[in-house]
Amino acid sequence: MIPASFDYVKASTVDEAVAALVKGGEDAKVLGGGQSLLPVLRLRLNAPSVLIDVSEVGEMRALTDDGDALLIGASVTTYEVMHSELVKEHAGLLSLTAGAVADPAIRHKGTFGGSVAHADPAGDLPTVAAALDCEMVIAGPNGRRTVAAKDFFVDYFTTALAADEVLVAVRVPKLGAGWSYNYQKFNRTAQAWAIVGVAAAVKSENGTITEARVALTNMGATPIRATGVEAALAGASSSDAIAAAASKAADGTSPTSDLHADSEYRKHLAAVLTRRAVEAASGI
């Protein structure tokens, strides 16, 4: 369909973007790669009066090594995240998962920040942000602040970002030695969103898991950390132990029902996929 008409501002700095947002008021929207926002406009589910394009803001296009973390600008594309050597080295789970997002055309346009800010519970990258305890660097009229992933994702398509704030970058802590990871994405066609997804990162010593991070895609309103599984995995060294831990994956979740999967089936999938993700990550 055809979107309602809107004004368009191309920002060249973060300050410019924030100023334009303030000026635009409630009806202004940040435009990243447009891969989620433009469909929303075309379906006329939303009709902002002005779009502020941040896709070429220099600071937001940078991907740098920041000591114990990587600082990934919000406008770095999914394709760039997938292929970055820095990301492969220090946050392999993120580059692996970026490769599972949509298709090449969409990965070239869509951005890491856009995906995180959009907060689609079926999005793959927010789950990784949750699994890796990322921090969101946010700029607004009152300056900058940082919000942890667990506080950032609030509800369906809702984050801690205020209407006049821009997500500038995501701080991705480095995993460090001894960690391995896997992402299991379950979908019906290659470029579709996840029905359920599971991100797992495990630290093992001599064939025993010592620490684990497990996060779930599309099992609730936000990405969910499967804390019960994480706790049960500590000390696991057999596939039975992994399976037993994984069976807790859906504990406490109440996923939605839709055409592709009802709630019960999603819970079942979460357990199966968690087992597979941990097995694949740990090699056990």
């Binding site: 369909m1 055809i2 309602a4 008409s5 379906l43 006329r44 298709d103 379950f186 019906r188 066609t189 290659a190 470029q191 579709a192 969103w193 029905i195 055409l259 592709h260 999967a261 009802d262 089936y265 079942h268 999938l269 199966v272 996929l273």
Partner: protein
């Protein structure tokens, strides 16, 4: 007497498609690219309700909106129909009337309630939101069985029923056959509703041409010729004032074998307003308003002796018409009527089809139209029968199919299959597939309790295509013929214009038709220009659908080419001062028998025919050949399709691991084009089995109304197909050809589902409703485990 394939040998060569250069480089004009000065843009407001009375309409705000020229509602065109049905299949069928714009009642989500005409497409769309309509709900009718119960809301109140028609075709005595049977197997299959998605959405431009009374209508259609007749009948505009052009058309699959209310409105408004009127649908509009396909509940019963001899079959269908009958809505399920016995011999076939109105988008032809449904039923029930008998499913098929030496064979529904060789196609397919090795792997996985189980799906299909002859269509109450026309003109400069009545929309007719003509008249393929899809330039034709273009149209090309060659022979003989009987014709050259130095070319003859300075007495100037051919019979392509399916029993996920098909479409004019048709058809048939399916809620809202919910597979979801062909030339078609446009879509669906069930039958599963989504398969396994199914 005429050239054969050996002369220049164009037939049978996999030459690249001429049309692809302009298509792939974006150097063509799709309808929506056409920009005429003064164009008015039309946008349609569609009902958000499945069934309701319109109690009030307020258009004042829309009329005042920027750029808006007119807003029309039903009351402005109270008597204008939006479509028509040319196939009243029974004497007592309940017909329906789809208005161009609804007047007082809407009958499906997507029904047109108002239109806006504006100076710009965006402004027209903006104004739609300003139209205020009050509805009073009348009750949706979504489920066919509910629709037939007394007390159901009525889609068409005046009809007093939702029953559209009942068609019966008893062949042989099924009850007698059943009485002799040791085994009777019955199943309910659901052939789900599908939404055809073409790359190019529907689009139309209608423009008064000024210099005459002519109105030209460019439209993304498969049927420019048929459409012209129907537009004239519906609007009262004289047929000779209407010119229909189908420019390059980006896919049809049956969805553009239609007369649409948007076309009717564009034409009528262009005439009324004296300006070009343009309309292009969005993908969202397409989902609710372009006709849907399939949607049948099939109750199938098969009776056999315990040695596996099939005795008879009973077919009881409920077919969803949707809210109105469009061009061949009621006939579509009946296109499969004769094919429920497939390739098998049997004593009886008892067929009943009940058409039902519901408050959903109308259904109509979709790739295969009727034959995918019949093929699914027979190929699925053969697997179920094999399981019941404990027979290997291929062995059961072999035992019952028509042997190659038995052709021509008149099957139980009365059709005479001219040729076929099921043994050869099957042998080749099984060899390519590695059938035995896969059976061994299947056993091993079962024995090991592997979470991923393997199944082999078989489909040994045939179909009928190239609808003809016209008399037969008349006997079936179809209001049109099945002939096709071709004119081949040799221009003064020696170039050839081949004017065809077929209307390609992706099939490559320009190339294939040139190949046929090249062999017959001995002119290089590059020198032949194929003219199509324009009632102004190609006045006679029956267009393209039902895999008819080559099977039927090819015959007209051959005959027209031969007539041209014969006329040129008379002129050449005159020029060379011998009798026509002393002239030989090969590779475009006429030479004197025994004195080959004395010769002339067809191009030279074309110039002589143009100047007309030295023509024999009684021979008219100009050189062309013309033919309108009504074929002797349908054509019956067949083939063997095999699918190796993996089922992840932990998640229900189904994976197509390997697909082999060996098709027999008779003589192949261009094997590369055949290959393309097979691949595309397979993708669509596999999509029905695994991905696609329209879902409505109880209120009649389409829940799968975008490509996010309605899943189409892409190349990334499908394996590389292993294809081959056997060649059993048709004996009823002079070029030996059969159709190939729908074969892949017809054959593959049951192959996939048979494969899925074969993988998990040992767990107790004997049916899966399509699409075989992971949740559906997982639930079937769970139900079987707990003793259900």
């Amino acid at each position: 007497m005429t050239a054969t394939a050996e002369t220049t040998g164009a037939i049978g060569r996999p030459i690249r498609r001429k049309e692809d250069e302009r298509l792939l480089h974006g150097r063509t004009n799709w309808t929506d690219n056409i920009q005429l000065p003064g164009t008015i843009h039309m946008a349609t407001l569609r009902s958000p309700m499945a069934h309701a009375k319109i109690t009030n309409i307020d258009i004042s705000a829309a009329l005042a909106s920027e750029g808006v020229l007119h807003v029309y509602i039903g009351a402005d065109f109270p008597d204008l129909p939006g479509t028509t049905c040319v196939w009243p299949v029974t004497d007592d069928i309940v017909m329906s009337h789809m208005p161009a714009i609804c007047t007082d009642e809407v009958r499906y989500v997507g029904d047109v309630v108002a239109i806006v005409l504006a100076t710009d497409q965006n402004l027209a769309v903006d104004a739609l939101q300003l139209i205020d309509i009050d509805y009073e709900p009348l009750g949706a009718v979504v489920d066919m069985e509910e629709a037939l119960k007394p007390g159901s809301p009525l889609v068409h109140e005046s009809a007093g029923t939702n029953l559209c028609y009942t068609a019966k075709m008893p062949c042989g005595d099924y009850e007698a056959a059943k009485a002799k049977a040791d085994v009777v197997v019955s199943r309910r299959f659901i052939n789900q509703r599908l939404i055809p998605n073409t790359m190019e959405p529907r689009s139309v431009v209608a423009a008064p041409m000024g210099m005459s009374d002519e109105i030209t209508i460019w439209t993304s259609t498969q049927i420019p010729h048929v459409l012209r007749v129907l537009l004239a009948l519906l609007t009262g505009i004289p047929e000779n004032h209407i010119r229909v052009v189908a420019p390059d058309v980006g896919g049809g699959f049956g969805a553009k074998l239609q007369i649409n209310r948007e076309e009717v409105l564009a034409l009528v408004l262009a005439k009324k307003l004296g300006r070009p009127v343009k309309w292009t649908e969005s993908r969202s509009e397409h989902f609710v308003s372009t006709h849907h396909g399939r949607d049948q509940i099939q109750d199938i019963e098969i009776a056999a002796t315990k040695d596996g001899t099939v005795l008879g079959m009973k077919v009881d269908l409920l077919a969803d018409m949707g809210a109105y009958l469009q061009i061949i809505t009621p006939g579509t399920p009946l296109l499969g009527m004769f094919m429920y016995s497939g390739i098998y011999k049997m004593e009886a076939l008892d067929f009943t089809c009940t058409g039902v109105y519901t408050t959903k988008t109308p259904t109509d032809a979709y790739r295969g139209a009727g034959r995918p449904e019949s093929t699914y039923a027979i190929e699925r029930i053969m697997d179920e029968l094999a399981a019941e008998l404990g027979m290997e499913p291929m062995e059961l098929r072999k035992k019952n199919w028509i042997k190659h030496e038995e052709f021509p064979y008149t099957q139980i529904a009365g059709l005479t299959y001219d040729t076929g060789n099921y043994e050869a196609a099957t042998e080749r397919a099984m060899e390519m597939f590695g059938y035995e090795a896969l059976r061994v792997e299947q056993e091993a996985r079962r024995a090991a309790g592997d979470p991923v189980q393997l199944g082999i799906g078989i489909s040994t299909f045939t179909e009928m295509c190239g609808l003809a002859p016209s008399r037969t269509l008349g006997a079936l109450k179809y209001v049109a013929g099945g002939w096709e026309h071709c004119t081949v003109r040799a221009l003064p400069t020696g170039k050839i214009e081949l004017i065809t009545g077929t209307s390609p929309h992706g099939q490559g007719h320009e190339t294939a038709w040139s190949q046929i003509a090249s062999d017959i008249i001995g002119v290089p393929v590059e020198d032949i220009e194929v003219v199509h899809g324009d009632t102004g330039r190609s006045p006679y034709g029956m267009d393209t659908y039902g895999s008819r273009s080559l099977a039927v149209g090819g015959q007209a090309i051959k005959l027209a080419g031969e007539r041209l060659v014969e006329k040129a022979r008379i002129i050449a003989a005159h020029q060379l001062e011998v009798s026509p009987d002393d002239i030989e014709f090969a590779a475009g050259t006429y030479s004197v028998k025994g004195d080959p130095e004395k010769s002339t070319t067809i191009q030279a003859v074309a110039f002589e025919a143009f100047t007309a300075h030295n023509l024999p007495d009684g021979v008219e100037p100009t050189l062309s050949g013309e033919a309108t051919v009504d074929p002797l019979d349908f054509s019956y392509p067949h083939g063997t399709h095999l699918a190796a399916m993996e089922v992840d029993t932990e998640t229900g996920k189904v994976t197509l691991r390997k697909y082999v098909c060996v098709d027999d479409c008779g003589v192949q004019i261009n094997p590369m084009i055949v290959e393309g048709q097979v691949h595309g058809g397979l993708a669509q048939g596999i999509a029905q089995a695994m991905y696609e399916g329209a879902v409505y809620d109880a209120e009649g809202n389409l829940l799968t109304a975008s490509l996010a919910e309605y899943l189409l597979p892409s190349a990334a979801d499908l394996p590389s197909f292993d294809t081959d062909r056997t060649v059993t030339p048709s004996t009823t078609h002079p070029l030996g050809t059969k159709g190939i446009g729908e074969a892949g879509a017809i054959a593959s669906t049951p192959a996939i589902i048979n494969g899925v069930i074969d993988a998990i039958r040992h767990l107790g599963v004997n049916n899966i409703d399509m699409p075989a989504s992971p949740m559906t398969v997982w639930r079937a396994i769970q139900a079987a485990k707990s003793g259900g199914n």
